[in-house]
Symmetry: none
Subunit: 301 residues, 2 copies
DNA sequence: GTTTATTACTGGACTCAGTCCACCATTTCT
DNA sequence: AGAAATGGTGGACTGAGTCCAGTAATAAAC
């Protein structure tokens, strides 16, 4: 065991060097790693506020204020005063900002591609699966998360976090809040344990996410209330939640599942696409906030 | 391929966080990561000079000067004026300095151990082997390795690195150093290119390892001077060196090969056993250091 | 054997990233 | 309504690291 720990520490030193070399791609852009992380986060979740970024990226509030100010004067992002709370400013990259992020992302992607040019596709595949194993085990070691059935005590969590996270991240209106209140409560009230389910993701004993399967008819299920706390993102929990829900659908002989989401939720949309979902209809919904493009995704087993 | 690159980059972001958390073990020590890297390097290679550190760790000369000065006034290292060149100062950690490094190393080790406590030994084993795979493939991608015949210019490298590495890693005495000096020089002097060979492993053009085949008689060869720099370990180069040496033995009609090693060299011993070597005799040798159990391994074709 | 160039190192002045603290405006709690 | 909490901001500061201009010692050139 001792020698394995030494091996892991040796890998850490090795990988520190690798990451150091890779970070040099940002050099010369005039923006620090932190600046880029901020822009990336805003790009992934438009209508973030300074607050959410401070927590997600673990940056000093004062420093964040300065970064945002600088990026704003550089024309890379714009502040949109929140209608719900005058202290808040929703943040959104300008087209210039998006373009810069895209350019950096492409550059970093190319750099990695170039690095891997001397490895065969099969070799890269083994590397990727090794990385996934490490990520999974380390997430487990660091955070201890699990997915469990919900209890009625979780309803409050699901409602309040849904409201807060969506409001903060996507600047949705009170109409959306009321909608969440109503639908979650209705779901819980008419809950049919034979045909429906709700799962809660826990990280170190605290709920950090949710997903539900609601029965539409004998053949058709709907995924609902899919939520993941920012701090729990990017370690495969979202995927596991969706997997658990889809497994439930298959086991219960549903032949199709659909879900409603909107175009800003990029990570979630990527996950749906990966699972085989396809967009079957879209429509603008202005009552939940400005410029919301609702989408209905469906998957047929 | 594109999505695999995305996966790798996702792993990089994840692992950046992990490493960030781990680095916090240094916090509160009053020394920066750079300070520690400097001390570690001096600890591994005593009598380094500022010059060598500047190149090895890629630190600004002026900054290095300041770091050294600070560590000196803190009583962690001492400057020993070089007798050959008055501009040079040889650097050596004081016992306080060594103790500090040891303490930090132990702390870092414990931290990792604690982190892994919720994983089974088997799980850790899979993590370690995944890491080794990544290290091997990335090393291949980042650095270019090759194994080549030695030239007489390599003799100095083989002697000096043998001394330094064995002294650092196994606390061997001056007697061992002298022995290396004598045997390597003797080998080079009486070198018979028809029946003997020495291979050098190179990483990005710099020697990182060696192995030699010495002729004992028509039938019997001896493996000698097997060495691999720490940074080049764990990526299959040692195996390649031994393979090259054994191939040479077979091609030159030797019927047996033997080698002398000692019981502390666990990784090397594992490699020998894998190749079919067996221990044919052991004896304690106290003149090279404390508690050295010498072993003679042999392989018959 | 003196001049010139190079090397190893050093100190001053500076930049840049990030932190700490005090403060304001707004919102929430009671 | 008043107290407490929240989101955000600017001033002053620290600490890491860089740039440049030296100095002393050594090596090379003529």
């Amino acid at each position: 065991m001792e020698s394995m720990i030494a091996d892991i520490r040796s890998f850490n030193r090795f990988y520190t060097n690798i990451l150091g070399l890779l970070d040099q791609s940002l050099l010369g852009s005039g923006y620090s790693l932190t600046d880029v992380r901020v822009m990336l986060e805003i790009s992934l979740q438009p209508f973030s506020t300074a607050k959410t970024l401070i927590h997600q990226l673990n940056i000093d509030p004062s420093y964040m204020s300065r970064i945002i100010k600088r990026l704003e004067t550089d024309g890379l992002l714009e502040k949109i005063p929140s209608e719900l709370d005058n202290r808040l400013n929703n943040l959104k990259l300008t087209t210039t900002g998006e373009a810069l992020i895209q350019k950096m992302d492409a550059k970093s992607h190319d750099q990695m591609k170039k690095l891997l040019r001397c490895l065969s596709e099969d070799e890269v595949r083994t590397v990727v699966s090794s990385m996934q194993l490490i990520k999974a085990k380390f997430s487990e070691a660091f955070y201890q998360f699990k997915i469990r059935d919900f209890t009625f005590d979780d309803i409050d969590y699901v409602i309040s976090r849904h409201k807060i996270l969506y409001q903060n991240e996507y600047r949705l209106t009170q109409v959306f809040s009321d909608h969440v209140d109503a639908t979650v409560n209705a779901f819980a009230e008419h809950f049919n344990p034979e045909r429906e389910c709700m799962f809660i993701a826990e990280m170190s004993g605290k709920p950090v996410g949710s997903i539900a399967v609601a029965s539409m008819d004998d053949q058709t299920a709907q995924l609902r209330f899919f939520l993941l706390e920012p701090k729990a993102r990017g370690i495969g929990i979202g995927k596991k939640l969706v997997d658990a829900a889809l497994l439930f659908c298959i086991e219960n002989n549903y032949t199709s599942v659909f879900l409603d989401t909107f175009s800003d939720l990029k990570t979630a949309r990527y996950l749906y696409a990966q699972k085989g979902f396809e967009i079957i209809s879209t429509h603008a919904n202005e009552s939940w906030g400005k410029n919301i493009l609702e989408e209905r995704w469906a998957l047929y087993f």
